[in-house]
């Protein structure tokens, strides 16, 4: 390949620009987080707005209808789901310190040590282990919702940004494309279109699949009378985003709660049965209907990204590692293919 000085200068400039971009993004981390969250929400909601637009409204009207619709759902979540979730977290935290739970943890530890005598008592402190998991989960949820700037600011800015991204998204895209030099603009438009085709189906599919599995798990646990049913449901929905191990982890959470709270073996079997049925429904019915596209990640890659996600961002990082890698894979592939097709590589 021929590397002329002009090409090298262009490449160095591009690298400098990218470095500047990432440096700015790291400085403005909280703003960038808000922007990414708003963009994702608007992106997921876009087909809904387009649907209303297609039926009888202009874009502004369609955006308002979508917002009213979402406001009702969020209102319902806040009034029905959030209080029991917070109460359940509080109850778990309180219960961890009680004498009866100490006793049951000691019993479990003794049973494990009788089967696996090589495990030292110091390394098998289940109570501390669970307490740590709860703390990191709770703090990562809080850090996502809360510490970005402040809860109130986030709650105002995100809907505001989502509204305008949804209403003027097409105009913004067109304005962005108009800034691209003539030589590259068709290529950029093509890459944007291909990425949108791949990612739209994948992200929306993941979101709706997780939501449906979460709702089904919550209902099933509520019917079976399992305590902390809403927390188990949310966890099952989120963990479902991790292929292979996710559904197992969701089911394991339900089983462990029953095991630690009353230990009823019949209820444990019923919980396992409920999760097996939910998984069957997910694989046979929900996924083929909802998940339009998969990004085909290798199992080995999935394991590594889940570990990396966990190392950097805790449990939430583990749950979101797979969709984030899917997004990254599509972006890199489409850019690479685009550059090759236009003979820029």
């Amino acid at each position: 390949m021929n590397y002329s000085p002009a090409k090298i200068i262009k490449f160095v400039l591009l690298v400098c620009l990218l470095a500047l971009f990432f440096w700015l993004a790291s400085i403005l981390q909280s703003t960038v987080t808000i922007l990414i969250i708003s963009f994702l929400i608007a992106y997921i909601l876009d087909p809904l707005a387009s649907y209303f637009e297609r039926k009888w409204l202009n874009r502004m009207g369609a955006t308002v209808v979508v917002f009213l619709f979402i406001a009702v759902i969020i209102g319902a979540i806040f009034s029905f789901l959030l209080p029991p979730v917070l109460r359940e977290i509080q109850v778990i935290n309180n219960n961890l310190g009680t004498e009866s739970s100490m006793e049951s943890f000691q019993k479990i530890e003794l049973t494990i040590r009788s089967y696996l005598p090589f495990i030292s008592p110091e390394s098998l402190n289940i109570r501390e282990w669970i307490s740590r998991i709860l703390d990191t989960t709770f703090s990562s949820i809080i850090s996502i919702i809360g510490s970005v700037v402040s809860i109130v600011t986030t709650m105002v800015i995100i809907p505001f940004a989502v509204f305008f991204l949804l209403k003027d998204g097409r105009k913004m895209k067109k304005a962005f494309v108009s800034l691209i030099p003539n030589r590259y603009f068709e290529m950029v438009l093509n890459i944007m279109h291909k990425t949108d085709e791949q990612l739209g189906g994948y992200l929306r599919g993941q979101f709706f699949d997780a939501a449906i599995v979460g709702i089904l798990a919550t209902i099933a646990m509520w019917i079976l009378g399992v305590p902390y049913y809403s927390l188990i449901g949310i966890f099952a929905g989120l963990s479902n985003m991790i292929p292979y191990v996710g559904p197992l982890v969701g089911g394991a959470a339900g089983v462990s709660v029953v095991f630690f709270t009353n230990g009823d073996s019949q209820l444990i079997l019923l919980v396992i049965g409920a999760f097996v049925i939910i998984q069957l429904l997910d694989n046979v019915l929900i996924q083929p209907l909802v998940v339009a596209r998969s990004v085909n990640l290798h199992p080995l890659l999935i394991i590594f990204v889940v570990i990396i996600g966990g190392q950097f961002f805790g449990i939430l990082g583990m749950l979101l590692a797979v969709p984030a890698t899917g997004v990254l894979k599509v972006l890199l592939l489409e850019f690479y293919n685009g550059f090759r097709k236009y003979k820029l590589l």
Partner: protein, 180 residues
Amino acid sequence: MTEDPLWSNIFKRQKTEKEDIFTVMRKVPIFSSLDSKELRAVEHILHHRTYEQDEVIFKQGEPGLGMYIIESGSVRIALGEKQKLLALLSRGDFFGEMALLLEAPRTAGAVAAAPTKLLGFFQPDLFDLMSARPETGNKVLIRLSQMIAERLKQTSIENQHLRTKLNELEDKSAHRKKIS
């Protein structure tokens, strides 16, 4: 009330520019069945691009994504490394429309022959139009299909003529061989 010359000029100029674009768009067969409201909706999604003289619009062999309409100026369509001139297009003409349906490499290159303003209409825009305004999108798609079918018919007729001529030539050469 007297008219403010500065503001009235700005608005008049914008209005005239828009009218110019609509006039150009009406000349393009794929937009010919659209009414004024639909034309305005399509105009919103078109990409406005400005080219210097001799600036490359696209090269032969590059992936094609859509068509261009000449708003002002002129465009050279050329073939091969020697840039053999196929056509010199001017205001109201359009090129690259096949790429709206088929994402294939461009069969020829396009270069601005003078300072040129183009309106770009691409496959993603057509899909967006069909999703947001199916009626308008369908009208455009039907006109595009009719145009391509017409061209196919024309090519078939030319092909038939060429075949007949070829057969005649083959017959003649066979006849000559027999005589000699």
